[in-house]
């Protein structure tokens, strides 16, 4: 019987089930959390924070990201300014190796332990794999930082190659719950995404797998994304709030409201008690400074600092000062090794 059917308060249920026993919320329960009123938001965030502190501790993992190959992607993810199928003003460009090393140095200078190299592709070709091989080696020779990658769908051989290069974590998002996915992407399937995620997990690389919210999905579909992510048991879930990009099919959607965004953070934490939950894109627009703090006190335990792939972020000094004030130490590099 469900919490709702028995009239039990969902936050009481979550406290007993997730906080005390470490059992993630089910789909139905995540829906109930996402439907709680604004006057419960403070209690909800406090509970999600307790869960995060108990199962993940106070540390915050800090990461920088960079686009190795920008724009001109053949896929049609409706939120993405890098798709070559839309009339976005983003032009195609490759980063060279010295620039890639410089990006890693800028990231390391913030105290970050993670640097993720991203390419706007369906999957890597020979040229991209060669660039990765050279780039990862150059970064490892010059900068003390863990290297992660996000290069689209992989073959088994490419998974093995990346692991051999020393890429320790691979990002491949589900983007949306299975039932909403066809409204978001038509050039590849949800199952193709799952295949890459599973291969990455089996290889021993850490899987980073998240998605976006605020793309017009229903509450049920948003909850579906949370539980389908939980089923994959990723090491990390990056949570993006849609930043509507001019020229894309989702370009005219309104950014998500901050209460909704915070409720979503807490609900994802309660569905994923033992997973790193990262603020990824869109937080500046959706949450602003105050909301950034509320999210860090509501389930988030990782951030991206500095600029994003095609847009700009906050000054990392502001984020780091906030972490300091909240007494949340930056996860040290050696703890991630």
């Amino acid at each position: 019987m469900t919490a709702q059917a028995t009239g039990t308060d969902i936050l009481d249920v979550a406290r007993e089930q997730v906080l005390e026993r470490g059992v993630p919320l089910t789909h139905e329960q995540v829906v109930a959390v996402l439907r709680t009123d604004d006057d419960r938001l403070e209690d909800l965030l406090a509970l999600a924070h307790e869960v995060r502190m108990r199962y993940q501790g106070p540390d915050v993992e800090v990461e920088g990201i960079v686009s190795l190959k920008t724009g001109g992607c053949p896929e049609d993810c409706h939120f993405c300014s890098q798709s070559g199928q839309f009339t976005s003003p983003v032009r195609s460009v490759w980063l060279n190796i010295p620039q890639l090393v410089r990006a890693a140095e800028q990231t390391a200078a913030t105290g970050a332990s993670e640097f993720c190299i991203v390419a706007a592709v369906r999957g890597p070709d020979e040229r991209l794999m060669a660039q990765m091989r050279e780039g990862v080696a150059a970064i490892k020779a010059a900068v003390d930082i863990e290297v992660a990658a996000s290069l689209g769908m992989l073959t088994q051989e490419q998974v093995d190659d990346l692991a051999d290069m020393g890429v320790h974590r691979y990002n491949h998002n589900l983007e949306a719950g299975r039932s909403y996915f066809p409204q978001v992407v038509t050039t590849h399937s949800f199952d193709e995404r799952l295949d890459t995620c599973r291969m990455v997990k089996e290889s021993g690389m850490e899987l980073c797998c998240g998605g976006l919210v605020g793309m017009g999905e229903t509450i049920e579909q948003r909850a579906e994304l949370a539980v389908q992510l939980a089923e994959l048991e990723p090491h990390e879930v990056p949570l993006n709030f849609l930043n509507p990009r001019p020229g894309t099919p989702f370009g005219d959607l309104e950014p998500m409201g901050s209460s909704d965004a915070l409720r979503t953070i807490a609900a994802f934490r309660l569905a994923l008690p033992r997973t790193i939950l990262r603020y990824a894109g869109g937080r500046e627009l959706t949450l602003g400074d105050l909301g950034t703090r509320d999210g860090l006190l509501g389930g988030i335990n990782a951030v991206i600092v500095g600029n994003y792939l095609t847009t700009l972020g906050r000054d990392p000094k502001e984020d780091l000062a906030l972490l300091d004030e909240l007494q949340m130490p930056i996860k040290a590099l050696n703890e991630t090794l």
Binding site: G64, I65, V66, S67, T70, P89, V90, R91, V93, L95, Q99, R102, A103, Q106, T107, A109, T110, P246, E284, L285, V305, G306, N307, Y308, L309, T310, T311, L312, G313, D315, P316, K317
Partner: protein, 79 residues
Amino acid sequence: MDAPTPAGPVARPGEPAPWCGQCGEDLTEADHARCVRAAPLEPPRYCAHCRRRMVVQVIPGTWTATCSRHGSVEQPTWG
């Protein structure tokens, strides 16, 4: 840094820069309120001098915008 303007970088300060770096429209005609709001979180995409779409590279601490005619501008995004 100065208050954000939608014009984006002026690669050649002496030359006229009539185009909005954010949306590529004429600065004296269209409404650029959204562009002004967007500017702190968006690098410019259009050359302010000639309206060409620029090649823009964003890395964690800087962005570089290059117009094939008017050259490159690099700006740090934190001090």
